[in-house]
C-alpha cells in the first residue's frame, strides 16, 4: 500500500447525524437508523430486513461531502479501515455458522465499532454533530447490550475479552495524517457499520423465527429497554 494507506485514526464526524437530524441529513431515513432500537424492541427488528443498496448513514456521507456521498464511490480500503471489523464474510459461510457464532461475531463487531465511534467525539466538526454522535453511540451501546442479553437468554457465553457494559477502547488509534484520509476512514467505518446492521437484522429475524419471541422479548425488556 501507499503511504496514505497506513492511517488508523477513527474519524467519523458524522455517524450520529443519522437518526437525530433528518432535516440536516435529508437523504437519510433508512433502516439502519432504527436498528439499534429495533433490537431493543423485538417487533422492530424486522425493520432492517428491508431493501438494501443505499447507505444507512447516507446523511452522514452527505456530511463528508462529494465524492463520499456518491453512490458508486468505492475508495481503496486503507490500513486503518482494514482493522474495522468487516461484515463482508461470504454469505454462505456466514449462514453456515451457528447462532452462537454469529451472535458472538455481532457482539464483537459492534463492540469494536462502538469503540471507534466513541473516539470520534472530539473530532466532530460542530456541536450539533457531536450531540448526534453521542446519541447514536448510546443507541449502539444499547444494541451491544441487547445482543449480550439475547446470548445470555439463549445460554451462550459472551466472547472472551469483551464486556457487555463497555467494550474495550481500541488501543491507541493514531491520528490520520490529514483530513482526507480521516474522511476515508470515516467512510469505511460507516460502510461497515451499515453492513453489520443489515446483516444483524437478518440474523435477528432468523433467530426470532427459531426462538420463542417471548423469551427474547422478555429478556430484552429485562435489559431495561
Amino acid at each position: 500500500n501507499r503511504r496514505m494507506c497506513h492511517t488508523t485514526a477513527p474519524g467519523i464526524a458524522c455517524a450520529c447525524g443519522v437518526s437525530q437530524h433528518p432535516a440536516v441529513y435529508p437523504s437519510h431515513t433508512r433502516k439502519g437508523v432504527a436498528c439499534p432500537q429495533g433490537v431493543a424492541q423485538p417487533p422492530a427488528v424486522s425493520c432492517a430486513a428491508g431493501p438494501s443498496g443505499s447507505l444507512p448513514a447516507g446523511g452522514s456521507l452527505n456530511y463528508l461531502g462529494p465524492p463520499f456521498n456518491e453512490p458508486d464511490f468505492n475508495p481503496p480500503r486503507l490500513a486503518w479501515a482494514e482493522r474495522v471489523p468487516s461484515a463482508t464474510v461470504d454469505f454462505d459461510l456466514w449462514r453456515g455458522l451457528t447462532d452462537n457464532a454469529r451472535l458472538a461475531a455481532n457482539y464483537r463487531a459492534y463492540s469494536r465499532l462502538l469503540c471507534y465511534l466513541r473516539g470520534l467525539d472530539g473530532q466532530a466538526g460542530t456541536a450539533e454533530l457531536r450531540h448526534s454522535l453521542g446519541h447514536f453511540c448510546s443507541s449502539l451501546q444499547g444494541l451491544v447490550v441487547s445482543i449480550a442479553g439475547v446470548m445470555s437468554s439463549l445460554g451462550y457465553p459472551l466472547p472472551a475479552g469483551t464486556a457487555a457494559a463497555g467494550p474495550p477502547a481500541p488501543a491507541g488509534a493514531p491520528a490520520s495524517p490529514n483530513d482526507f484520509l480521516k474522511k476515508m476512514d470515516d467512510f469505511w467505518l460507516l460502510k461497515e457499520l451499515q453492513t453489520w446492521l443489515w446483516r444483524s437484522a437478518k440474523d435477528f429475524n432468523r433467530l426470532k423465527k427459531k426462538v420463542p419471541p417471548a423469551v427474547v422479548t422478555l429478556r430484552l425488556e429485562a435489559q431495561g429497554f
Binding site: R2, R3, M4, A13, C14, Y63, L64, G65, P66, P67, F68, P75, P76, Q123, A124, G125, T126, A127, E128, L129, P177, N178, D179, F180, K183, M184
Partner: protein, 1051 residues
C-alpha cells in the same frame, strides 16, 4: 568618496607605480597589447584586461606587475592615467609595447555577483525564504543596492516571477532575506531562485551595470522524490474568494485520470511527468467538513486533500459585560458572520483585561447565537478594561469595552421565595439571591397580583448581602384575598438590568369583618301586615371574607321586636310586623366578625296623587328625572322590579343623594322593548314616601303585532272597521298611533304589502287618538274589493300589518250566477240573464238567485314583509301612475256577486308568532263572483282555455291572466277527468278533497270558493273546519267543495 584620505593615498601609490612602469615600456614592437578594458567591482581597484595582437607569440607583459594573465588589478587613480603594456616573451624579449590612456569615464562599475546563502521552503505556507549577503563592507555607507531576484519553476525552469529588492549598504556585510509565497504548493514541483545586484555608486562617472546572476538555488518538489506522492496543499484553510492551486503528485508509473474539487472535475495543468495541478478561482465557502479534492489515479488508486474555505472572523458586536454575583464577569457578544470553519479551525476567543493583564481563553458554545465568556472578578478592582481577541486561521480582530462593575450588576434570579403572615393585611416575603452584593444596594420589586384588583408593583431597597436571604414586609393588603407574589432585583444605585422574576408564590390573607353593612330596602306586603326586607350582597372587597349570614333585627325604639339570622345565599327576608313600624338593622357576618349595621325604617309615609310619568331611553339606560322635593333629607330611592319569565319579579333599587334630581338607570338586566316601572321614593326624617312612578323603555321597538281588527259594517261606499287594544307586552314601546292603509285590491298571496305595493290609489289614515278604536272609511266605490292594512306604531317603528279584504256592497240590484243543475242550461229558466250593471262582464252569468247583499268571504294567509313607515296622506302619491297588475279589481270585470249570501264578513286570522314581525295575517273578503275567478296562486293555476276542452264547457270565460305554463298539463288532465258535465266554473279552483272525490284536486288549491244556495244565516260553510285551522300549512285556507254540503250552521 574620492576625497577620502585613505583613497588618496592609494591613488598616490598607483601613480608611483605607473610612473616607474612608464620608464620601462617599449612602444611599437610586435605583439603589442590591444583593447584595454578596465572595470571596477569595488571602489578600490579596477581590473584591466587587454588582448595581444601578435599571432602565435606568447610572452610576458610588463606592467607594473608582471603577470601571465591578460588582466591586472590596479589601484583606482584620481585622474586619467596612461598605461603602457609591454609584452615580453618568456625569455624576456619584448614583443610589443602599447600605451593606453585610461580615463575615468572609460571604467565600468559592475558589482560582484551575489551569492545565495540559503533558499528555504516552508511547505505549509508555500513560502520560499531567500538569504544572501550584501557584501556591503567594500562599499561606502549608504549606497543604494538593488537586488533582482528571479523565481523559476518546473524542470524547464520557467520563470514565475522576478522582483527587485532594494537595500541600503551599511559598509558592513549584511545578510538580506526575502520571502515569496507561491501560488502553488511547493511540493507540487521544483522551484528555483537566482539573484543579481546593482549598486548605485552616485559619484561614479563611468558605466554602472548589474552584476552577473548568482548560481541557481533550488527547492525540489515531491515529484523529484522517488516515493513522493500526495495531493497538496493538505488541510489548508483559505479565505473565501481566494484562487487556489492544488496539485497531485504521483508515482512515475501512474497517470492522473481526473481531479475533482468538490463535485466538479477541473482541467489538469501539467507540471511534470509526476505532477499535475488544478486551479480553483474565487473559491466559495466550504461545507462543514471542508471541500474534498480527489485525485483519481490509474490502477484504481486515489488520493486527496481537504480544503477549508471560510471567512476571517467578524468583529464581535454588542460586546457587553456584567456580573450576576460579583464572582464572575460574564461577557457576551454577537459573533457576526459565521466563519464557516469548524473544529480546530473554528474562531477562537480570548478575553484580555488590560488593567490586571489577565487573559482568559473563552470556550464558547457554537450552538448559542450569543457567545459568552467568563472572567473572574478580581479583588479590589472595580474597573475592567476588556479586549476580546478573535482569531481563526484566516484572520483576527478584536473588540474592547471598559466597564465599572458596580454599574453592570444583573443579579441572579431570586430563589426560595416564601410568604408568611398571620394577618388579614400584612405578609412577609423572604427570598434568597445567590451572589455577593455587599458592595452595592439592591432594589427589589415585588409584584402583587390578585384576582380582584390590578397588578401592583412594590419597590423595596436594601443593602446587598453575601449569599443572603432578603426580607420585605407588605402592608395594606386586602383581607381574605388570594395573592400571587413574585420578586426581581437589580442594583439600586446604578440600574443596569432586572433579574428574572422569581417563581410565583401564593398566599391568602386572613378574613376580616365586613367593611360595611349591606344596602337595604324594604317593602310592605300588600296586606300591610308584613315587611319584606331586601339587601344587596357585599362586593368581594367589602365582604372581607366569606359572608355566612345576615342578622336582621327590628327595633321599636330600643326594644327588639324581631330578630332573624338569614344564612347565605338568601338576600331577603320577611318580618311580620302587623301594623307596627320599626327600625330594621342588618348586619353581614363572616368568620372574622360582623359588619357595621345598616338601618332602615319601615315607615312609609302616605302619598297623594302619585303620578306616573314616562322615562326617556338614553343610551343603554333609562333616563329619569324628578323635581327636588324639599322635605327629602336623606336621599332618594329609585326602585324597580326585574321580571324574568314566570318567576316573581326581583326587586332592585338605587339610592341617590338628596341633591340629585335625575339619573340614568342602568342594568345589565335591562332589555330593549321591555317596559320598566320605576318608583321614586323620598327619604324623609320620618320615613319613606312614594313620590312618583316612572315608566320607560331602555329602547323602544316596533309593536310585535298590529291590533286585531274587524269590519263592522259595509255599505256601498263605506267600511267601518274596529280594532282591539294591543297588550302592553306586545307594544314594546309607548304606542303612538295606528295606521290604516286601504286601496282597491283583491287577495293575492303574491301581492306585496299594501304599503309597499305602489298602489296609486293607496290611502292611509293615521290615527293618533289612541282612545279611538274604530274608523269608518268613506267615499268608497260600490261592489269593489278593498284591501285594508292596519298597523300600530311606537317611537321604535311600525308593527307588521294585519290585512283584510272587503268588498263593498253593490249600490244597485245585482244578479248573481250559479251553476245550473240541469244538463242543458239553455232550457233553464234560471238562466235568464239579465242586463244589469254586470253586463259589461265578459263572463257568463249562471243561475240568478234572489237579489241579496252579495258577499262572501275568503280567508287567506299571506306572509308580508316588514312594514315601512308610511306617509299619512290619504292618497298615495303614486296613485296616478301605477296601474294594478291584477285587473280583477276592475269594476267592470268579473265581480259577480252571489246574491244569496248574507252580508256577513268572516275572517280567519292565523296567529303568527308575536316574535315574527314579518308575518301577518290577511283576512280577505270576497264575493262569490270572485270564486269564479279565484285568486289562485300562479303556480297553482293552469294557463288553459277551458272552453276548448271537450264535452260540456263551463259557461264562463275565465279571465285568468296570470297562469303559469308549467301547471298546464296537470290541469289538462284534470279537465279530462271531468269531461262531460261539469260545473260551469273553474273547477280546477275548487278543492275537491271530499270523501266522494278523494284527492281529486291538489290540496293547495284552496282559494277556490264555491257558493251554494243557503240560508242567509248559513254562512258557517264558509269557515274552514278546525282541522284546517290547525293545519301547519301557511298557505291560503279556503273551502272545500264539500263544505257547501257538509257544514252546518252552528250559530
Amino acid at each position: 568618496m574620492w576625497k577620502n584620505s585613505s583613497l588618496c593615498c592609494v591613488l598616490a601609490l598607483a601613480i608611483l607605480c605607473l610612473t616607474s612602469l612608464i620608464c620601462s615600456q617599449e612602444i611599437g614592437s610586435p605583439g603589442e597589447p590591444q583593447n584595454l578594458k578596465c572595470i571596477m567591482h569595488n571602489l578600490h581597484k579596477m581590473i584591466c584586461t587587454w588582448d595581444v595582437s601578435s599571432k602565435g607569440r606568447y610572452g610576458q607583459t610588463d606592467f607594473c606587475y608582471t603577470t601571465r594573465e591578460k588582466r591586472v588589478e590596479i589601484p583606482v587613480s584620481e585622474s586619467s592615467i596612461t598605461v603602457s603594456i609591454t609584452t615580453n616573451s618568456i625569455y624576456g624579449a619584448a614583443f610589443g609595447t602599447k600605451k593606453f590612456a585610461i580615463h575615468k569615464k572609460d571604467i565600468s562599475f559592475v558589482p560582484l555577483t551575489p551569492h545565495i546563502l540559503s533558499l528555504t521552503p516552508d511547505f505549509s505556507t508555500s513560502t520560499l525564504n531567500l538569504k544572501w549577503s550584501d557584501n556591503g563592507s567594500v562599499f561606502p555607507y549608504g549606497l543604494d543596492a538593488f537586488w533582482q531576484i528571479e523565481i523559476l519553476r518546473k524542470e524547464t525552469m520557467e520563470k514565475v516571477t522576478q522582483v527587485t529588492y532594494h537595500s541600503k549598504l551599511t559598509h558592513e556585510n549584511t545578510i538580506l532575506s526575502w520571502n515569496w509565497t507561491s501560488d502553488m504548493p511547493l511540493e507540487c514541483t521544483s522551484h528555483y531562485a537566482k539573484i543579481r545586484c546593482y549598486i548605485n555608486v552616485t559619484d561614479f562617472v563611468g558605466h554602472k551595470d548589474w552584476s552577473d546572476w548568482s548560481p541557481v538555488e533550488k527547492v525540489l518538489g515531491k515529484d523529484t522524490e522517488p516515493n513522493g506522492s500526495g495531493v497538496f496543499p493538505q488541510d489548508t484553510v483559505v479565505a473565501v474568494g481566494s484562487d487556489v492551486t492544488i496539485c497531485c503528485v504521483h508515482a512515475e508509473d501512474q497517470q492522473i485520470k481526473r481531479m475533482t474539487y468538490g463535485p466538479e472535475i477541473y482541467p489538469l495543468i501539467h507540471l511534470s511527468s509526476r505532477s499535475s495541478a488544478i486551479r480553483v478561482i474565487n473559491a466559495s465557502a466550504s461545507d462543514t467538513s471542508g471541500t474534498n479534492v480527489v485525485c483519481t489515479l490509474s490502477q484504481d488508486e486515489m488520493d486527496g486533500t481537504v480544503l477549508f474555505v471560510g471567512y476571517a472572523p467578524d468583529t464581535p458586536q454588542n460586546l457587553s459585560c456584567e456580573t450576576s454575583n460579583f464572582l464572575i464577569i460574564k461577557c457576551t457578544w454577537k459573533p457576526g458572520r459565521p466563519s464557516g470553519l469548524y473544529g480546530k479551525r473554528r474562531t477562537k476567543y480570548s478575553l484580555l483585561e488590560r488593567i490586571s493583564g489577565k487573559n482568559v481563553s473563552c470556550e464558547v458554545n457554537e450552538m448559542n447565537r450569543e457567545r459568552v465568556c467568563g472572567f473572574p472578578v478580581l479583588a479590589d478592582q472595580k474597573t475592567y478594561s476588556f479586549t476580546l481577541g478573535v482569531s481563526n486561521p484566516i484572520g483576527q480582530t478584536e473588540s474592547s469595552l471598559l466597564v465599572d462593575l458596580t454599574q453592570r450588576v444583573h443579579p441572579k434570579t431570586p430563589e426560595k421565595l416564601t410568604v408568611s403572615g398571620n394577618s388579614s393585611t400584612n405578609v412577609h416575603l423572604h427570598w434568597y439571591i445567590n451572589g455577593s452584593f455587599t458592595e452595592i444596594r439592591l432594589l427589589c420589586q415585588i409584584e402583587i397580583s390578585s384576582g380582584h384588583s390590578e397588578q401592583k408593583l412594590h419597590n423595596v431597597s436594601m443593602p446587598g448581602g453575601k449569599f443572603s436571604t432578603y426580607t420585605a414586609q407588605l402592608n395594606a393588603l386586602h383581607p381574605y384575598t388570594k395573592y400571587q407574589f413574585r420578586v426581581r432585583c437589580s442594583a439600586a444605585d446604578h440600574f443596569w438590568r432586572w433579574s428574572d422574576w422569581s417563581r410565583v408564590e401564593e398566599h391568602t390573607t386572613l378574613e376580616a369583618p365586613p367593611a360595611r353593612g349591606p344596602d337595604v330596602w324594604r317593602e310592605r306586603s300588600p296586606s300591610g301586615r308584613s315587611l319584606k326586607i331586601f339587601w344587596k350582597p357585599l362586593t368581594l372587597s367589602e365582604a372581607n371574607g366569606k359572608i355566612v349570614s345576615h342578622e336582621v333585627s327590628c327595633y321599636l325604639l330600643d326594644t327588639l321586636l324581631e330578630y332573624k339570622e338569614v344564612t347565605e345565599p338568601s338576600n331577603s327576608t320577611e318580618i311580620k310586623l302587623g301594623k307596627n313600624d320599626c327600625v330594621i338593622s342588618i348586619v353581614a357576618k363572616n368568620h372574622a366578625g360582623s359588619s357595621p349595621p345598616s338601618k332602615i325604617t319601615s315607615v312609609e309615609l302616605p302619598s297623594d296623587n302619585v303620578k306616573t310619568e314616562r322615562a326617556v331611553a338614553l343610551g343603554n339606560g333609562i333616563y329619569i328625572s324628578w323635581s327636588s322635593y324639599p322635605n327629602v333629607t336623606c336621599g332618594y330611592i329609585v326602585k324597580w322590579c326585574h321580571s324574568s319569565g314566570s318567576e316573581p319579579c326581583s326587586v332592585d333599587w338605587q339610592k341617590f343623594p338628596s341633591n340629585t334630581t335625575d339619573a340614568v338607570m342602568k342594568s345589565a338586566l335591562f332589555r330593549p322593548g321591555v317596559r320598566y316601572n320605576f318608583s321614586l321614593y323620598g327619604c324623609k326624617s320620618s320615613g319613606y314616601q312614594l313620590l312618583k312612578n316612572i315608566t320607560g323603555y331602555m329602547k323602544e321597538l316596533p309593536p310585535k303585532r298590529a291590533p286585531n281588527f274587524t269590519v263592522e259594517e259595509t255599505s256601498s261606499d263605506s267600511i267601518l272597521v274596529k280594532w282591539e287594544d294591543i297588550p302592553v307586552e306586545d307594544c314594546q314601546g309607548f304606542l303612538e298611533g295606528y295606521r290604516l292603509s286601504f286601496a282597491k285590491g283583491e287577495k293575492d298571496a303574491l301581492k306585496p304589502r299594501l304599503s309597499e305595493s305602489g298602489n296609486p290609489e293607496l290611502k292611509v289614515k293615521n290615527i293618533t287618538d289612541l282612545t279611538k278604536k274604530s274608523l269608518r272609511i268613506l267615499d268608497l266605490q260600490g261592489k269593489t274589493s278593498y284591501q285594508l292594512d292596519l298597523q300600530a306604531y311606537t317611537a321604535g317603528g311600525v308593527s307588521p300589518p294585519n290585512s283584510l279584504y272587503v268588498v263593498t256592497k253593490e249600490d244597485c240590484k245585482i244578479k248573481d250566477t250559479f251553476y245550473p243543475e240541469i244538463p242543458n242550461p239553455e232550457n233553464s229558466k234560471a238562466l235568464q240573464f239579465q242586463k244589469n250593471i254586470c253586463e259589461g262582464n265578459k263572463t257568463l252569468k249562471t243561475l240568478e238567485m234572489n237579489p241579496c247583499t252579495p258577499n262572501s268571504v275568503e280567508v287567506v294567509e299571506t306572509q308580508s314583509a316588514a312594514p315601512k313607515i308610511e306617509d299619512t296622506e290619504m292618497m298615495s302619491p303614486a296613485a296616478d301612475t301605477t296601474v294594478p297588475e291584477d285587473g280583477s279589481d276592475s269594476e267592470n270585470e268579473n265581480h259577480v256577486v252571489v246574491s244569496y249570501c248574507p252580508p256577513i264578513i268572516e275572517e280567519e286570522i292565523s296567529n303568527p308568532s308575536m316574535d315574527e314581525p314579518v308575518g301577518s295575517s290577511q283576512v280577505v273578503y270576497i264575493d262569490i263572483q270572485s270564486m269564479y275567478q279565484p285568486q289562485i296562486k300562479a303556480e297553482e293555476e293552469p294557463e288553459i282555455d277551458l272552453v276548448t276542452t271537450a264535452g260540456y264547457k263551463p259557461q264562463m270565460q275565465l279571465p285568468i291572466s296570470a297562469l303559469k305554463i308549467e301547471s298546464r298539463s296537470a290541469t289538462e288532465e284534470e279537465s279530462d277527468k271531468t269531461a262531460g258535465y261539469r260545473p260551469q266554473a273553474n273547477t280546477n279552483a275548487w278543492n275537491m278533497d271530499t270523501p266522494d272525490s278523494p284527492g281529486s284536486v291538489e290540496s293547495s288549491n284552496e282559494n277556490a270558493s264555491f257558493g251554494s244556495p243557503c240560508s242567509i244565516n248559513s254562512r258557517q260553510f264558509l269557515i274552514p273546519p278546525k282541522d284546517d285551522e290547525d293545519s301547519p300549512k301557511p298557505t291560503n285556507t279556503g273551502w272545500s267543495f264539500t263544505h257547501f254540503f257538509q257544514n252546518k250552521p252552528n250559530d
